[in-house]
């Protein structure tokens, strides 16, 4: 249902934008070369559809991988950033300063060092969505949920895992929203990387179409990007929703079994990162 709603929203916006484009074409009498007619767009879609679908899936796969890397990294660094000691202060200061820099400007340097392969696209995708996730995670992990934590603190039961479990649980909605938002940024990062220098993906196809001044190809590519992005984001929302139902509902034991495992994993990462 959520997926259908997102798809419907995207298709409505896309159709409206196309309608406006063709409206402008008719009003100002632009040529078919500048703004292709609907039939030409359909022809491009039928001739290149399969190739474009493969390209957009390639882009999506890189974006998802980059997104996952960013989330894991942001969680690990966020755990350090929540600390009141010097590693925490240093991490927070570094994160706040670095996020102010437009990361996409660093992308050409990455291509210089890593070439135009998968590694560059993955790294740029991860970097672009990493800082918003990190800052949100630091904020969530560092802020006490006083009305829940008070009992554990005053009875001497509090430890960092319990504290994080409480804060994560209490902020699940916020975390899902941040992850969904950063998913879009991961896709944007991947496409930017493909615009710049890659030889694969839908961004590369758009770049080629741009050189040929072929708006029909660009419109088809944009449609597929929107479609894939809507599907991916609704998948994340669905996963977030399922987790919430499990935790709030009758299957909450999942949380009890799952969280200690996750924290042990993260603890090992933090330990490696700090020491």
């Amino acid at each position: 249902m959520r997926t259908l709603k997102r798809l419907f929203q995207f298709i409505s916006i896309y159709a409206t934008a196309l309608g406006l484009l063709w409206g402008v074409k008719i009003v100002y009498g632009f040529s078919d070369y500048l703004i292709p007619p609907p039939l030409e767009v359909l022809q491009v879609a039928s001739q290149n559809g399969l190739l474009y679908v493969k390209a957009v899936l390639d882009t999506l796969a890189v974006a998802i991988a980059g997104h996952m890397v960013a989330i894991v990294l942001a969680t690990a660094v966020g755990l350090v950033g929540r600390l009141g000691t010097w590693p925490g202060n240093l991490t927070r200061t570094a994160a706040y300063n670095l996020q102010a820099y437009p990361i996409v400007a660093v992308a050409p340097i990455i291509f210089l060092f890593l070439g135009d392969g998968l590694a560059s696209r993955l790294l740029i995708a991860a970097m672009i969505c990493y800082f918003p996730v990190l800052l949100s995670f630091i904020g969530i992990f560092a802020k006490s949920v006083e009305e829940v934590e008070h009992f554990f603190r005053i009875t001497g039961r509090i430890n960092w895992r319990l504290e994080l479990s409480i804060r994560t649980f209490e902020n699940l909605d916020k975390i899902t929203t941040v992850i969904v938002g950063s998913g879009t940024m991961a896709l944007v990062g991947t496409i930017i990387a493909e615009f710049l220098a890659a030889t694969n993906g839908i961004g590369y196809i758009i770049r080629k179409a741009l050189y040929q001044s072929n708006l029909a190809k660009i419109l088809v590519a944009l449609f597929l990007i929107g479609l894939c992005s809507s599907l991916y984001l609704s998948l994340i929302e669905t996963i977030g929703g399922r987790i919430k139902i499990r935790l709030y509902g009758h299957k909450a034991e999942y949380m009890i079994f799952c969280l200690p495992f996750v924290w042990r994993l993260l603890e090992a990462q933090v330990h490696t990162a700090v020491f």
Binding site: E147, V148, H150, F151, T155, S165, F169, L247, Y248, M255
Partner: protein
């Protein structure tokens, strides 16, 4: 148990005036005591200072024989991923399991152990929260409006049973209900109406200290209630 505050000063960071200034106050436990006052007079602040959640700016708080001081308030929640029963079992020491069963039965909460905390009424939440504190090791429990949402008959029953179950413990019960504190407390400590110079005196009024099943003459209760209310409204210039 002896609790003594000497020359206590406390000002919240960024506040223009102190909550307490040069306050001397003491309680001799065990027993059930009440802290009464109008809103904003510093009851919760004093509770947090005694429990160590806040540190006094100047002066000292001495509780020589207390191994553990607990403070609870009525906004507390249990983690949402657990049922009430699972949470209570996980925080109850093995030696207190039968006490937990007794308390839950007393509080009429046995039927709600499989519920989520969020699914309980406000009064039920209050009872569950108090129950989990009562099964901890403590010498002094400061209960800040912990039964604020519980209906009167149940609240009276809980307070009576508290005294029967824990005769050797010290309770400081914070409430806005003058009738309730007059009936059940051994002594009521009334914080006077606020002053910009900070509270420096707490009035003591002897309570009726009603025990389980004991009848209390209504005239006596009324007399104490008036004394408490007069004392609470007594001072001084209102805070800005």
């Amino acid at each position: 148990m002896h609790i003594a505050c000497r020359n206590l000063h406390y000002t919240y960071p960024g506040a223009g005036f102190p909550v307490f200034s040069n306050l001397d106050w003491s309680i001799e436990g065990p027993g059930f005591f009440a802290l009464f006052g109008l809103s904003g007079t510093g009851k919760s602040t004093l509770a947090k200072l005694i429990s160590g959640e806040l540190s006094p700016g100047q002066g000292e708080i001495d509780i020589p024989n207390a191994r553990r001081v607990l403070y609870t308030h009525n906004a507390e929640r249990i983690p949402g991923w657990n049922t009430v029963g699972a949470h209570l079992r996980s925080v109850t020491p093995a030696s207190k399991t039968s006490l937990l069963t007794t308390i839950l039965k007393d509080y009429g909460m046995e039927a709600h152990l499989e519920s989520r905390f969020s699914g309980l009424s406000m009064g039920q939440k209050n009872r569950i929260n108090l129950a989990r504190y009562l099964v901890q090791e403590f010498d002094l429990l400061i209960a800040d409006e912990v039964l604020a949402n519980v209906d009167e008959p149940t609240r009276n029953h809980i307070l009576e049973r508290l005294k029967t179950l824990f005769p050797q413990k010290t309770f400081i019960y914070i409430s806005h209900n003058a009738l309730e504190v007059a009936r059940f407390s051994q002594a009521i400590y009334v914080l006077p109406h606020g002053s910009t110079a900070g509270t420096n005196k707490i009035h003591k009024i002897t309570g009726i200290d009603r025990q389980d099943g004991m009848e209390t003459p209504e005239e006596l209760v009324q007399e104490r209630v008036y004394a408490i209310l007069r004392s609470a409204a007594s001072t001084s210039e209102p805070r800005p």
